[in-house]
Symmetry: C2
Subunit: 472 residues, 2 copies
């Protein structure tokens, strides 16, 4: 259904092009923060030290990992539209209540419900062998007997245009080069549309990843109303390159693709909310967030279990330390992120942006933290830099400035709201992303503790400061 | 059948404990090679330069990769006992003839024929989910309805001994720590035997690998005649640790294991031989070798396509350069290596060890070469060190001395024959080993060219030297 909704389509494009994008900019070092504000920020060092100590060596050490593992092992993956996701949401609401967090509730959202079903791809010529695939989210099914067709292999959309007269009736295989996610994901997003334009009967892409152990990677994709919808799936890197070699040799390549995917009616889900209510300014909130839904492969421990749990556990930690800031800190565990930021879109329609002091989101891994990626005014940048200096005990003081921050929170891009994403050593993030490799084994307990310390410290100090981060 | 043959069992143990073992020793620097021998070795620099240039930038650049990719893409995996392996052997014999190599022929060997069949493992409690497994080579099947049993999780054989009264009727899961292959592979090798001793109905192990993207790793395993044979398979690292966490929580774990594996009668295969016949001493040969059989997952491009092809293509390269050494250079592409060095064992029975001037084998990756791992006398070590100095143009001059060299050639260990293995940057070798990730994507064309240059140069110089490498 997402692909038939222009609004979602646009948002999905924004999402796909902003995640891990690189439009960074440089801090104007002439901050000129007033001395009293500098001093005020530095006065938080003892409390930040307390947060850090509690997270990395005190009573909360290893707790984020434990809570996340309990959750992941209990529910496994939590795809948008599934009953399992709703059970997982119930679990988090109950957990939040058991930890006595404030204003615990779910906020309703209608989210897409795509069901993968059985799928298989078989290379029939020049040699019969199974190809490991994952259908792409939103894809239609093949007929029950599958689609058996000759294959055209191309390395880019441009090459397909040049060979458009060869594509009719074929399965088009895209063996695109990995550049980075922001650049390369267009092949996942638009393969089916571009293939259909030139008469392809199905499309397959090289998985959008820099590294593979024969591991296919799924992800959402968009159809266009202008061209027929055709089935579309991801091959492993290895199989994609094998097909490219065969094609270059002049081999006659035939593949049979079977997919039982179904696009079901949307279902009601919930964004999961909990708070530490501000002691003075209850209606202004620092938002700390991650998404609870995942793909239907692996266990969604990394994408976005880690991000969701450091966000949620920040409240548990602060609560246990009896720390209540001036303003509210609100954790939002988004729903329906994977099919196009659906939970965040709904939230943006129901909530006035003036509620938000700072939008924080962790959805790019919870590996060793380095600091924060931030988008804000010069004043806000300078305040954030000063706040991050408090994190020197765990060496997470880096402020990276960017115009493109977050995935769910990117909904609010260009609205002047300060936005922050967790900066971490996520070089291997896309090795696991949307694959069966997204499991607890990716997560490291000590790293999660440090990420938690960064997250809780930044959220707390911003929520408690005497001044607001200014807006554009 | 291998597991019922004590001789194979012993050899298999030797093999498993010697691959990548670390019993290295240090070169006695006081080589005292006669000056004329030093000068003679150094006089090979121009011809070694020619070999290097031809391989890395001349007419043979990228040819090893191309030949290997043609082969791998044509045949895919080539498991012991399969018709596909025999077709692959025919192909190599024909290729060798087409390149006009000398004495091209196959030498018959009876090899094991184990067939995997369908296999699946399902976690039924505490949560229903599929577990990715690969049955271990030689395993028996489960009954058709599978084995459904409670699970005992242990982290070591010692822990199993301590909990032996809890194992009866259970599926025992070994979640052993990865140390290195030589140490850790015992869990693959003996899980079923140790499990059966305490009444387990099946065993599962954490795959023997340091890294995983939910990728199970197979490999041969041995039964003992003293205890019942029980089905045995490898879990992914991720699933193994999940089961360990569940076990530690006190969850009731139930798994249903279905395996259709069959141990068929042995079939006749061949070691594949080709030579550049010596111009003076035809009956003494430097052996360059790798194995043609592979596991039935992935494509056996790394294990041992790369090693087999640099060995075989060394002859093609030397032939094309019209280089014929004093002694013979013989390429042996072993068959039946994976089920226990079966081809090499047969070869050792038919051939007198005095035929061998030097046994060379590449079966530990063909990544960037660094030099040679070598086992020999002090005189032989010193000659080899001098020969490796000729490879400084490609920075592959390192001589690593070890008492444990090779897998197939380890058959001849302790018989005084000089033995060499390709030393290369194979840190990631076990990421792919015996998994679906063993494909052409692991191989790098430039690295293969350099490995070829090392291999052809060392083989040629040793085969042509005026003196023999001395024997212990």
């Amino acid at each position: 259904m997402t692909q038939e909704t222009p609004y979602f389509l646009i948002l999905s494009i924004i999402f796909l092009n902003t995640v891990f994008a690189t439009s960074n900019y440089v801090l104007d070092e002439s901050c000129g923060l007033p001395n009293d504000l500098k001093a005020e920020i530095q006065s938080y060092q003892p409390i930040v030290n307390k947060i850090i100590k509690s997270a990395v060596s005190g009573p909360h050490k290893s707790k984020t990992y434990k809570e996340l593992a309990d959750f992941v092992d209990k529910f496994g993956y939590r795809i948008s539209g599934s009953e399992n996701l709703e059970h997982a949401i119930d679990y988090m609401l109950n957990k939040s209540i058991s930890y006595k967090l404030d204003n615990v509730h779910g906020e309703p959202v209608m989210i897409p419900h795509w069901v993968r079903g059985h799928e298989e791809a078989t290379l029939l010529s020049p040699r019969e062998t199974n190809l490991s695939i994952l259908g792409l989210g939103g894809s239609i099914a093949t007929p029950p007997e599958g689609i058996t067709a000759s294959v055209l292999v191309v390395e880019s959309f441009d090459e397909l245009k040049n060979k458009s007269n060869e594509a009719k009736g074929k399965i088009v295989v895209f063996v695109e080069e990995w550049v980075n996610y922001g650049v390369t994901v267009k092949y996942r997003d638009y393969a089916a549309v571009e293939g259909a334009k030139v008469g392809a009967v199905a499309t397959l892409i090289r998985s959008v990843t820099p590294f593979s152990i024969n591991s296919p990677h799924t992800g959402w994709q968009d159809y266009s109303d202008d061209v027929p919808k055709i089935p579309t799936a991801a091959l492993t890197v290895e199989d994609a390159y094998m097909l490219l070699r065969m094609y270059r040799r002049g081999d006659k390549i035939i593949i049979r693709l079977k997919m039982e995917a179904k696009n079901m009616p949307p279902v009601q889900s919930r964004n999961t909310i909990s708070e530490i209510e501000g002691k003075q300014i209850k209606d202004k909130a620092v938002i700390v967030s991650g998404h609870l839904d995942s793909w239907d492969v692996g266990n969604g421990a990394m994408d976005d279990g880690g991000g969701a749990f450091i966000s949620w556990y920040s409240l548990v930690l602060l609560k246990s330390l009896n720390i209540r800031p001036r303003r509210t800190i609100r954790t939002i565990l988004w729903t329906g992120e994977e099919p196009g930021l659906v939970g965040a879109v709904k939230y943006s329609k129901v909530h006035n942006k003036d509620e938000f002091v700072l939008l924080m989101e962790s959805d790019e891994g919870t590996f060793t933290p380095e600091g924060i990626t931030f988008s804000g005014t010069k004043q806000a940048n300078c305040i954030m830099k000063e706040i991050l200096s408090l994190l020197s005990p765990i060496n997470a003081t880096k402020l990276e400035l960017s115009n493109d921050v977050g995935s769910d929170i990117s909904i609010w891009s260009n609205q002047g709201i300060p936005m922050a994403s967790l900066l971490n050593k996520n070089e291997r993030y896309f090795w696991y992303h949307h694959s069966n490799g997204d499991t607890m084994t990716v997560e490291n307990s000590d790293d999660l503790d440090k990420c938690l310390a960064v997250w809780a410290s930044v959220a707390y100090v911003v929520a408690d400061l005497s001044v607001n981060l200014s807006r554009l």
